[in-house]
Symmetry: C2
Subunit: 173 residues, 2 copies
């Protein structure tokens, strides 16, 4: 069975969507998408950047993220045909670890704790395919990389892209 | 730089030592070491096995484990000469995740969150060397495996063994 390595934030989980909603509710304005090159942070007005950072470190933020459209159904099919691992750069955020495991178990009951990897960087991860929204995770990968399109990576080139889970199904199923 | 993958429980951390101490304090007797083939569990008298299992799942158990002799000093030197990743099969125990990160940060301040990997199985981990006490983790590894000797793996053969951190220093430094 071929192995697919799939990222969690911005690929399975709409992490930026949750941050945008939180920001709008708390500060009554929108984030500055055009400044989000490589990272959200430049798109968060400086006056509230420290609060946004604390939100990322807080318990519960990663527990209640929306799931990307079609992700559950496509993942269910991928899981029958491939060896699937969900690999998330998470150890920077100590309170996210258990939250991410519980989020996965809630929304993807057909996946198990054996398929989750919580790490810092992804240099030591091996597989046949990797789907990730950060080129820094794809650059060391020895299998075939796919860049999942987000506002943050719109400026990157040199990678085959997927823009949603329907496209992922089209490639892998 | 060559990459070393190092296991946490029974290699860096004396997890069984902590379980033995807890058992002795609570039940006034020792575990049955001669029955620990492949796992602790058969060495825990059946009448208390469920409580021992709950202890493993409880918050704090993995936060306060003793560090193996010489591990800190040898790791500090390894970390200068190699790309070191600490890879722990931990997602089975949701409460262990943050505990393991904090334990690592307390005892090994020269390592960072970027070097910790918390996973279920270790099939997708790539590197030049792996030191682990479970042959199920070593068997898929494409680099050179070293079996860290414990009571539980005494029956295994077919692997080069290390029995303590002085021996690890002798091989790698």
């Amino acid at each position: 069975m071929e192995r697919i390595i799939i990222d969690m934030d911005e690929v399975m989980a709409d992490t930026m969507g949750a941050m945008m909603s939180w920001y709008r509710e708390n500060f009554g304005e929108d984030l500055e998408y055009s400044k989000m090159i490589g990272s959200w942070m430049p798109g968060i007005p400086e006056k509230h950047r420290e609060e946004a950072r604390r939100k990322l470190y807080s318990k519960g933020f990663f527990r209640h993220l929306p799931v990307m459209d079609d992700c559950v159904d496509v993942m269910n099919e991928l899981n029958k045909k491939y060896e699937v691992y969900i690999v998330s750069a998470a150890t920077e955020f100590p309170n996210s670890l258990k939250d991410k495991l519980e989020w996965l178990e809630e929304h993807f009951p057909f996946l198990t704790w054996r398929q989750l990897v919580l790490c810092g960087d992804k240099k030591m991860i091996a597989g046949d395919y990797m789907i990730d929204d950060h080129t820094r995770n794809l650059v060391h990968f020895t299998g075939k990389p796919y860049l999942y399109s987000t506002i943050m990576n719109a400026h990157e080139d040199g990678y085959e892209r997927v823009k949603n889970w329907t496209e992922i199904a089209g490639i892998f199923l």
